[in-house]
């Protein structure tokens, strides 16, 4: 028997209508909205969000303590230009390399693995939702949460730079467009980092029973990216992100130097990575069978 077109709203006017092969957009949007809401709740307001919050706070506390520890801000060695340069190092080494990376790992690996470990994944799999939509909804929720947490950290940390220099310097830089340009470039890099790492970790969390090992391998790969030959650098997310930094940083003596990719290439490359990771996740989810005892 082939039932090519079924409507479930013949009796109850409020029930959703489904037409195979021709899903109506309103229904899909309602389902997507429901997934995003449920997952944002899980990501931002549950026990599993604790790691992300701690990671978010660490650079803020660190910069606050640095700002109030150094007393001699009138020294000629201590200028706003130099501080911006130091921030560039802190951002690329710590905020991007640790907070965004580990925070994305914590948020995105839990999107599927958290459900499987909590034995609640079957509720999603038993829902009449296209698997593509489940993946998209979860990813969007993770991305919005990561952007909110790490984007805010990036902005706060940048503003904390100005504590030693006072409001006058801040207002002057803000009106001179130096500060907004840099601040939003850092914010953009953070958002792009969440997109790239997030998609990768979402797939990792679904495919691997213990995502810690692949996360550690990816971390190692990202850590040694500067010594990788040019052909391999293209397979590193951090290569594209560091090329976008508003302040050129000194390279390590061991570094194999290549021309940084353009902004467009960086954005496109990370978007392609995200699309590939999402596609893999969808394909894997379609084949997923629930056997919690194995997990």
């Amino acid at each position: 028997m082939n039932i090519s077109n079924i409507s479930t709203n013949s009796n109850a006017s409020n029930e959703p209508s489904v037409k195979a092969g021709n899903n109506n957009a309103a229904l899909l949007l309602r389902q997507l909205g429901a997934i995003v809401r449920i997952e944002i709740n899980n990501t931002l307001f549950s026990k599993r969000s604790l790691i992300a919050y701690i990671l978010t706070l660490i650079p803020i506390i660190l910069l606050l303590s640095l700002a109030f520890r150094n007393g001699d801000f009138t020294s000629t060695d201590f200028s706003i230009d130099k501080t911006r340069r130091i921030f560039g190092f802190i951002y690329s080494g710590f905020i991007l390399g640790a907070v965004v990376f580990l925070g994305s790992a914590a948020i995105f690996t839990a999107l599927f693995r958290g459900e499987i470990l909590g034995c609640s994944m079957h509720y999603y799999l038993l829902s009449p939702v296209r698997r593509e939509l489940i993946v998209l909804g979860k990813f969007l929720a993770g991305l919005l949460s990561a952007w909110a947490l790490f984007g805010l950290t990036t902005l706060i940390c940048y503003l904390l730079l100005y504590i030693p220099f006072g409001m006058t310097q801040l207002i002057s830089d803000m009106t001179a467009s130096i500060a907004p340009a840099q601040m939003f470039t850092y914010l953009g890099i953070t958002m792009l980092g969440c997109l790239g790492y997030g998609s990768l970790f979402m797939a990792t969390g679904l495919i691997f029973r213990n995502p810690l090992f692949p996360v550690a391998i990816i971390a190692g790969w990202e850590f040694i990216h500067f010594v990788l030959p040019p052909a391999l650098k293209f397979f590193s997310v951090i290569h594209y992100l560091k090329g976008l930094l508003p302040i050129p940083l000194n390279n390590s003596p061991l570094a194999i130097v290549v021309t940084p990719p353009s902004v467009l290439v960086s954005i496109l490359s990370i978007t392609v990575l995200a699309l590939c990771s999402i596609t893999i996740t969808v394909l894997y989810l379609k084949r997923l069978e629930i056997r919690y005892t194995e997990n």
Binding site: S7, Y123, I290
Partner: protein, 334 residues
Amino acid sequence: MTVKTITAGSTELNAAHKLAAESLPSIVVDNVSKFYGDVLGVNRISFSLGAGITGLVGPNGAGKSTLMNLIAGLMRPNSGTLKVLGLTPAQPEVFFRQIGYCTQYDSFPSGVTGRQFIQNTLLLHGYTKPSAARATLKALQQVDLVDVADRRIGGYSKGMRQRIKLAQAICHEPKVIILDEPLNGLDPMARTQVIALFRELASGGASIIISSHILHEVELIADHLVMVNSGYLVADGDASGIATETGEPMRIYIRSHHAMEMAPKMFTIEDVLEVQIHKDDHGLFILTRNADKFFLGFNTLVLTQNWQVDAIGPADQTVEAIYRHLIAGEQVAS
């Protein structure tokens, strides 16, 4: 057969769909096998089920949950095909609208209340918020959990958790409901309520599959039985039919004030093995090897002898007797 383009609001087409659904089996399992590596889950199982309540019976490890997971689309068979209302899980957006599954897993999304749990399910189905709220209330009323709906599920008793899972399985009014040990953890009062709910849903045209270890409950609830053992289908049919096929003698109780007169004539019916008279002389216990033949012969006698019969029915726990014969006996032998 092809049923094409059934749209909302079309009375004729909906009627056609209903007719098609009623005349066709809801669930068709055709030569299905499932292996976990080298371990057998179920092997070459075939049966079809229509509306009503089906009891899925078998010992631990028989393959009951595997079979339920396969029908519900949580697992894919290694070979064979499964269809529910002609649909397969390859079309999740249509397939899962027709299915409600109360799994054996005693787990829930973390931190949610009973109401949120049901409401989220309905929102995932695509319900609007107001209609989801209404359907949630209805489902909570059906399982008698309205009073505790706003408490976190983490604080529920086992029986309450079982009932909220049941509410989640039926909240979207599915046509096929699969229930894995749904009576576990329920107190006698809740069991009675839940069994009444199953009957109500079945009388509304739903196909319900219930697995249970408690055989007399299956006997009480199910119109149809599917017995599995060690991954194989052992029997499929109604209890008396299975008993007849297996040759397992069936005990029948007849209540009549003609009991004393009836007793000697019972042996004229083929396959009657034993006749006992009730201590009040108004009842008979008949042991027969073929229930269908007995009922046919007994009807003829009642008409020719002009007897009055007050009640007639199985006297013992038929499912348990069949289970003993087909499964427990086999396990002892092996």
